[in-house]
Amino acid sequence: MSGSANSLSRPAGAAPARSLGEGLPALLGIAALVLVAWAVPWLKFVLTIALAKGIAVLGILLLLRAGQVSFGHAMFLATGAYTVAFVAPFQTEALLLLPLAALLATLLGLAVGLFVVRYRDIFFGMLNLALSMVLYSLLEKLYEYTKGTDGIRVSVLTFAGLRPERETQEWLMFGLALLLAVLFGLLVRAYLASPMGRALAGIKTRETRLEFMGVSARRVLLFAYVLSALMGGTAGALVAMTSRHVTPQLAYWTSSGELVFIAILGGAGSALGPFLGAAAFELVRVYAAAAVADAWQMILGAVLLLVILFAPGGIWGMLAGRLRRSA
């Protein structure tokens, strides 16, 4: 490792994270989540949302590896969520709605991706933002279909044909989110260790070399982008099924900003970062909002500032550093 140059664009936690096993922290994290969800029932909802957002943030992490920041990824989350809301009246099966939502978000990701991967840096970020705002206005303006800012209530769902009671349903959603979080976490981990994943950093540092290796930098980025859209759509479906209510706010630029916020908070060095970040974010939000109703955004802002200044590797970077030292 060369020095301690703290830069946001560089996953500062990358090296420690690799030398430290991620398996044990992951298992401990899962155990802690289940324990908290069991001990404090009303937090089950919060944690399910956190897991869903963590899945979406995994996609942001992929793009960060390529040095790109999307300020519009909430559009994929919203696509997944509205797919569930639109289709639920005709098809109540959650286990069908979920892949359908993911598929539509993936297709949107492919269409948008083909366009935006031609751009880098601020242009990439702003184009994503602009496109997400187009979706936002559509959701807001097409009142006839979307009920505008009122949003749509998601009708009651079935799971594998059954219609469980409320408590069971909450556990099912929590379990589903946890399962998908683990699966996508493993997928992203494998992907980041593969040539495709390792080449992402090449987009940040040496795009010319990629081309002179016979590799299309755009295709490398497109793959990550489409994967991130898939995860965004999955996250959106989980959010819609858990909260049972979708609004255009899901696609608003602040929602996209929130995903980037969580990515930086959690740390881009490991697939665990997004989930640490999302859990911290949602918990701080819930407790801070209860304690100081008007100031919770300020508290979150202060937290992010501290992270950027003192722990550029995010929560994961901090944990990994501490574990390594005590090992």
Partner: protein, 277 residues
Amino acid sequence: MSASDRLGAQAEPSIEGVTRPRQQDAPLLSARGLKLAFGGVKAADGIDLDVMPGEFLAIIGPNGAGKTTFINMTTGYLRPQAGSIEYDGQPILGLSPRVLVGKGIGRSFQLPQLFTEHTVLENAALAIAARAGLWSPLVPLLRPQWRAEAMALLDRFGLAPLAEVRADALNEGARKLADIAMAVALQPRLILMDEPTSGVAAAEKMSVVETLVRVLRDAKVTAVFVEHDMEVVERFADRVAVWSQGRIAALGPPETVLKDPAVLRDVIGIEPAHSHA
């Protein structure tokens, strides 16, 4: 410019006294009338050059003469405003670097282009994976097969001890070699190297070049390289092309070209020795 030298070059003894095979075949690379101006600067002003299969051709010339521009044009990075380039008998003008790499044209860079966040081993493995075209998103880059191949490659370049070092922590000489190793990993037939020895410590230079030449000869790669060190040119080049203001001012075997008074004066910056009778 002594045109007769071109034929003479082809039977010259090469390094270590080994006579290299005659090269009567068709040229591997053939450039004709290449022109490219940046504003008023003529970086290429009618370049004609044939590179024969198997030869080591050195390009020398002062700063800004257009040496890098020539490499950029032949690798598809810059498109000349006029002229044509044939590789292996096929026109390649307008093809992208990516396509040309697939056809066997590799290059290294004046400023090494390594993936700075990765280790030397990962850099090499990425190039090997790229050649294999096996960009599976799920198989690890450092799977045993590619790790072994990458280590073998680094070993040939004497870089094995640095395998686990991050590329941005290398010294300039090692960076240059790693940069070339990445090009070689793609198994090119023709490699264009931009100042492969600049930045290499003087004490190591000859051994580094020897290593490099051995690797390239073993792999039967034809090489064009820009070089400022005349000792390197003299020892390792079969022919040398002298670049001056976007033109080739002289072309031939180093023995002749490097004694040409005009070349000595204009390129190397030495007044011709007056001791000589």
